[in-house]
């Protein structure tokens, strides 16, 4: 089963890291990508770079800023192949954002069944 790990770092927690700490945390994130179960992922650029598209007043509205007006902002994601939720949760718990005060949301992907030949 495929799971999305949506990473919400604690605001300011990454900026507060010293140079060495930041290097080691980055290396940890890279290591997740090396995991054979990892199907993809990305670190998103900061919230200041966000633009949101919405439908309002009969037309598409483009505005500056993120969709959700919350303190916590989506910082990145991974997609992992895991045999069950516990395996996905075990990966999620190791994401550095968690111990630095943030959170990781784990949600299974909708999987389109593959037609197999009979």
């Amino acid at each position: 089963m495929k799971y999305a790990l949506l990473i919400y770092p604690k605001p300011g927690s990454e900026e507060a890291l010293g140079e060495d700490e930041y290097k080691s945390v980055s290396a940890e994130y890279l290591a997740f990508r090396e995991d054979p179960r990892c199907l993809g992922g990305a670190h998103l650029q900061p919230i200041e770079t966000a633009t949101t598209v919405r439908y309002s007043g009969g037309e598409n509205l483009i505005t500056d800023g993120p969709y959700a007006d919350t303190k916590e902002v989506l910082g990145g994601y991974f997609v992992f192949e895991a045999s069950n939720l516990d395996e996905a949760l075990e990966v999620a718990q190791r994401v550095p954002a968690v111990r630095l005060g943030g959170a990781v949301e784990v949600r299974p992907l909708v999987e389109i069944p593959v037609e197999t030949a009979h």
């Binding site: 089963m1 045999s83 069950n84 939720l85 516990d86 949760l89 784990v106 949600r107 299974p108 037609e115 009979h118």
Partner: protein, 377 residues
């Protein structure tokens, strides 16, 4: 049913399969006679019929021809199963029902439905919600188990302490729901507690929880008499169920033999055991509450400790402790304060505190008790 859930990974499917198997048994056993190993036969039949149905559904979806639509059901001769080869999967079932990714209220409902054998309606009544609400709660939880692939397994060793704590908490929640009027719920919790103590015999906290529940339940008939709340000191000890006290103490002994350093449930069990004595050693009770407070950091535990300190003969110290707690409008904080003020002869303050406690009271026996205390000032 537990074996089928493991095999089928889907609780609804398992329930349907179980019902079908029983229907077949009702039809065939009178005709063919009781099989050698009825449980094994039921499980095998359930599996076979579900395999047939799942195959049928899959092939229909795949729009290819029906496979094995006319395969005859297995006969008694073809079943060569030993009862002992059917694994007891109740432990896996409990851990699945109490998975942390499910809301606690869903964990409780699932546990009662899957292991307690309660109907949805009975569970709804126990938790004071409509049957519709409970149905939705159960089906949402089952859907989540399926959608997220919550494993049907006893958690790995490194996960076990937290997961076991969650399971014990659910059982204790059920027990507390049945604390005052619902003796059947309390009995259900005790039954689950016994099951856990049996299936996790090496876990002291499982025995501790069982001890705690049995010892509390031993006093069930003496807590409220004729709608009046009866405090421990005034209870008719001859009506304490000694069989439960004995069984509770045996469970406690097992827990302490496994690990002398007591966890929270074992500590609470030990406290309940001391309170079952003719002459309660309140100093010892206070000391145990202090250990429990250090383990849990709970202000409610601190409140209970203050009560023990007062009973041990130091009401002023107890009041100091109570006043240092941050429990807002927790009704027992106010009733305890009121009682301590009364014992210290501070009448006017006691009156105000009892009036406040009365406003917060949740049941009629509580109200009557507080009103009597107020009147007696």
């Amino acid at each position: 049913m537990a074996s089928l859930v493991g095999f089928l990974g889907d609780m609804d499917l398992a329930e349907e399969a179980a019902q079908e198997a029983f229907a077949v048994a009702a039809e065939r056993w009178p005709r063919d006679g009781l099989p050698q190993h009825p449980v094994a036969w039921l499980v095998a039949t359930g599996r076979n019929r579900t395999i047939d149905r799942v195959r049928r559904e899959r092939t229909l979806e795949g729009k290819t021809r029906l496979l094995e639509a006319d395969q005859p059901a297995a006969t008694m001769d073809e079943i060569d199963l030993d009862d002992s080869t059917i694994p007891d999967e109740r432990l896996e079932l409990i851990f699945t029902c109490c998975h942390p990714s499910l809301a606690v209220e869903a964990q409780v409902a699932l546990t009662l439905r899957a292991l307690g054998g309660l109907t949805t309606e009975e569970i709804a009544r126990a938790f004071l919600v409509s049957e519709q609400t409970m149905k939705r709660r159960l089906s949402r939880a089952k859907a989540k188990i399926k959608a997220t692939a919550i494993p049907f397994a006893v958690p790995a060793d490194r996960l076990l302490p937290d997961r076991l704590a969650a399971v014990l908490a659910v059982v204790y929640l059920i027990f507390n729901q049945g604390y005052t009027d619902r003796g059947d719920l309390a009995a259900e919790a005790i039954r689950l507690g016994r099951l856990l103590a049996e299936l996790m015999a090496d876990e002291p906290e499982a025995h501790g929880l069982l001890a705690l529940m049995l010892l509390h339940d031993s006093r069930r008939d003496t807590r409220v008499v004729d709608g009046q709340l009866v405090p421990l000191a005034e209870q008719d000890r001859s009506r304490h169920d000694q069989a439960k006290v004995k069984a509770g103490r045996a469970a406690l002994a097992r827990a302490l033999a496994l690990r002398p350093a007591a966890g929270p449930y074992v500590l609470q069990g030990a406290i309940a055991s001391l309170q079952a004595e003719e002459q309660v050693d309140w100093d010892e009770v206070a000391a145990l509450y202090e250990r429990l407070e250090r383990l849990t950091g709970s202000p409610v535990v601190a409140l209970n400790r203050a009560v023990a300190v007062a009973e041990a003969g130091a009401p002023e110290r107890a009041l100091e402790l109570v006043d240092s707690l941050e429990l807002g409008d927790y009704r027992y904080l106010h009733s305890t304060r009121a009682e301590l003020l009364r014992r210290l002869g501070r009448q006017e303050e006691a009156r105000a505190a009892f009036e406040h406690a009365l406003r917060l009271a949740a049941t009629d026996p509580e109200r009557r008790f507080l009103a009597r205390r107020l009147a007696g000032l």
